[in-house]
């Protein structure tokens, strides 16, 4: 008789607020995390120069001097150029003398970083178009869709030979 009374159904747990709690967690994560994938221009620097190292001889004709002055004016072998012209110059140089050329970059201490970056971007872009052409001609696909081995081949065929010279310290008050 009493037993019958105890055989009630177990009351259900009220889970209405679980949604609210998980919403709060979600919003917390949205606020504290960042979704931006970091992108940038990858460069490999040369190791620090050793004292006993002798500078390598290189033919003056194979060197292209790219300079940025304090007014952010870009010049290539002494002539003022635009970014497009610079890219075209680098392209012809790298095409004519693939493994022997050197692009030497020099920037004044007062140059803004933006000018320097767009110069680097233009030079890398010039190499990229060359590699893209090569990939299309030999593998029939764009550089991005080539496999790692093919990419290595292309990179060896058109190596990036960029040398960053010392930065001219001009008008220093020190």
């Amino acid at each position: 008789m009493f037993r019958k009374r105890y055989r009630q159904q177990i009351p259900e747990l009220n889970t209405t607020s679980t949604a609210d709690i998980s919403f709060m967690l979600l919003i917390f994560f949205l606020v504290t995390s960042s979704m931006d994938t970091e992108k940038g221009l990858m460069r490999q620097m040369a190791p620090p120069p050793l004292e006993h190292e002798t500078p390598k001889d290189i033919n003056r004709n194979n060197v292209m001097q790219v300079k940025l002055d304090a007014q952010n004016q870009l010049s290539c072998d002494g002539k003022p150029v635009t970014l497009q012209q610079l890219a075209a110059e680098v392209r012809t140089l790298a095409m004519v003398n693939r493994t022997g050329h050197v692009v030497q970059i020099e920037a004044d201490a007062k140059t803004t970083y933006e000018a320097y970056f767009s110069m680097q971007d233009a030079i890398v872009g010039a190499y990229h178009t060359l590699r893209e052409e090569y990939a299309h001609k030999h593998y029939g696909c764009s550089y991005e869709t080539c496999n790692a081995e093919q990419r290595e081949m292309i990179n060896d065929y058109y190596p990036q030979r960029i040398s960053e010279g010392t930065i001219a310290q001009e008008g220093g008050a020190q």
Binding site: T15, T16, T18, A19, I21, S22, F23, L25, L26, F29, L30, T32, S33, S34, M35, T37, E38, K39, G40, L41, M42, R43, Q44, M45, A46, P47, P48, L68, A107, D108, A109, K110, T111, T112, Y113, E114, Y116, F117, S118, Q120, D121, V124, G125, H128, I167, Q169
Partner: protein, 150 residues
């Protein structure tokens, strides 16, 4: 008349309540999605900066072996921030060495320095930082930028 009345009584039923039992599950799914695709903001940027734009940018892979260097202005002066604190350029090699010792063997080789430099920063300071990185043998650098399509 009778069928009419029955129709009336039928329409007087209460609206059935919506079953929201699966709502937490849905939200949890969204939450897990966000937890996976995003990464926590690790350091607080103490300098003001705006990175330049470029068209040849690549994605930065391997987040564990990345050291962030921020160069930006705070008030009038230019400052260099490494990961979480503002440093002098001369202190960079020691800091890099410290970070490198805490990394695994593979990551030590993959160590990349992400340079987030303001557009207007003078190259004198940037090259000084780069020279210090060279001294520390942190040779892989990444000039952080936003992408623009050609």
């Amino acid at each position: 008349m009778r069928p009419m009345r029955s129709k009336f009584s039928q329409s007087r039923r209460t609206v059935p309540s919506l079953n929201v039992a699966s709502m937490p599950d849905l939200i949890f799914t969204v939450l897990f999605f966000f937890m996976i695709v995003t990464h926590m903001r690790s350091d607080e940027v103490k300098v003001r900066l705006q990175v330049p734009q470029g068209s040849e940018v690549q994605k930065l892979a391997n987040k564990q072996a990345v050291v962030n260097i921020y160069i930006g202005h705070k008030g009038e002066a230019w400052h260099v921030q490494l990961n979480n604190d503002i440093v002098q350029p001369g202190d960079i090699p020691a800091r890099i060495e410290e970070i490198r010792s805490g990394l695994s063997q593979e990551n030590q080789q993959r160590l990349t320095v992400s340079l987030r430099v303001d557009k207007k920063a003078p190259m004198g300071l940037v090259s000084e930082v780069k020279r210090q990185l060279q001294q520390a043998y942190a040779l892989k650098i990444n000039y952080s930028a936003t992408e623009i399509k050609k």
